[in-house]
Subunit: 159 residues, 2 copies
Amino acid sequence: MGEAGFATHDHSGCIEAGLARAGRICTAAGVRLTPIRRRVLEILLAEHRAMGAYEVLDRLAREGHPAQPPVAYRALDFLVRHGLAHRIERLNAFIACSHSGRDHAPVFLICRACGAVAEAGWQPGGGQIGAAARAHGFRVEAVVAEALGTCPNCRAAAP
Amino acid sequence: MGEAGFATHDHSGCIEAGLARAGRICTAAGVRLTPIRRRVLEILLAEHRAMGAYEVLDRLAREGHPAQPPVAYRALDFLVRHGLAHRIERLNAFIACSHSGRDHAPVFLICRACGAVAEAGWQPGGGQIGAAARAHGFRVEAVVAEALGTCPNCRAAAP
DNA sequence: TCTTGATATGTTATAATATAACCCTTTATC
DNA sequence: GATAAAGGGTTATATTATAACATATCAAGA
Ligand SMILES: [Zn+2]
Ligand SMILES: [Zn+2]
Ligand SMILES: [Zn+2]
Ligand SMILES: [Zn+2]
């Protein structure tokens, strides 16, 4: 887990660690990591990329658990609410959180070429969004920060 | 025009100035500000808020120009391509640009309570997104930066 | 244990957003 | 005027998301 970024990383242990962390967070928050929620998180962790809700549904169906859209959206909503996954607005898609800390404001780097998404940390209130908010008397409650571009792997492959 | 932000501003002249600027930009770029494109921009400028594509369509219909979805999406796409409007990912909506300069990377402050959207400037390559991109070897080509929260007017009304 | 309220899931139907594809019209250029 | 390029009209459909309601599961207290 952690700041994998675009580096090819050893994916083994990634899923296990993510699930363990999810269990801890849910216990601490007094909420239930039910089988469906857990399975959706597993799927996101295993793919390690942004997936649409219907893509998750397809995966569930192929794994022998056919379900209707609300099932996926509820599970994804739960995961997002508890910081275990994030919604990428630009892609209408969801990705497992790869950040260890809780209550974080992530910024995403989205590769146009290969679709890989890296999650980086963000200092709420800092940087240019914070400055703009202060200048306008605006109180920030949530931030969507997504950069589209090309990752180092794709630039190396086709410069 | 310019940095209206959340301050109540004198809206007269706003539309006219926006259209004049659009004409200059299109002429300079060698593209055509056709009647439909112009009318959609007028609508966005007049409302001075983020509008969904179907909301724009409704407006067109009520103004005596009934049209199908592709008409609105084509016009909005044109306006976005040429920097005359922006897409707010978080809202699936579009807003006329309120920034004078060309080739700018805006950051939006979106009020949850009243729906008002302020557009602030952004230094591409600067701030925390720039830092994260450099740290990951990522080349940024476009940025989505949107903050949700409450504007000063709404906080004053219901603190 | 039995009731009971809260939470979660199953299911149907539909809303909201967006695009593909085709044909015709308008515009710019030769 | 012929021709190519760009834009608009239209139909149909894809994609994303939610409302609403029935059923099932869980957590505690009586
Ligand atoms: Zn995260
Ligand atoms: Zn890539
Ligand atoms: Zn702008
Ligand atoms: Zn407000």
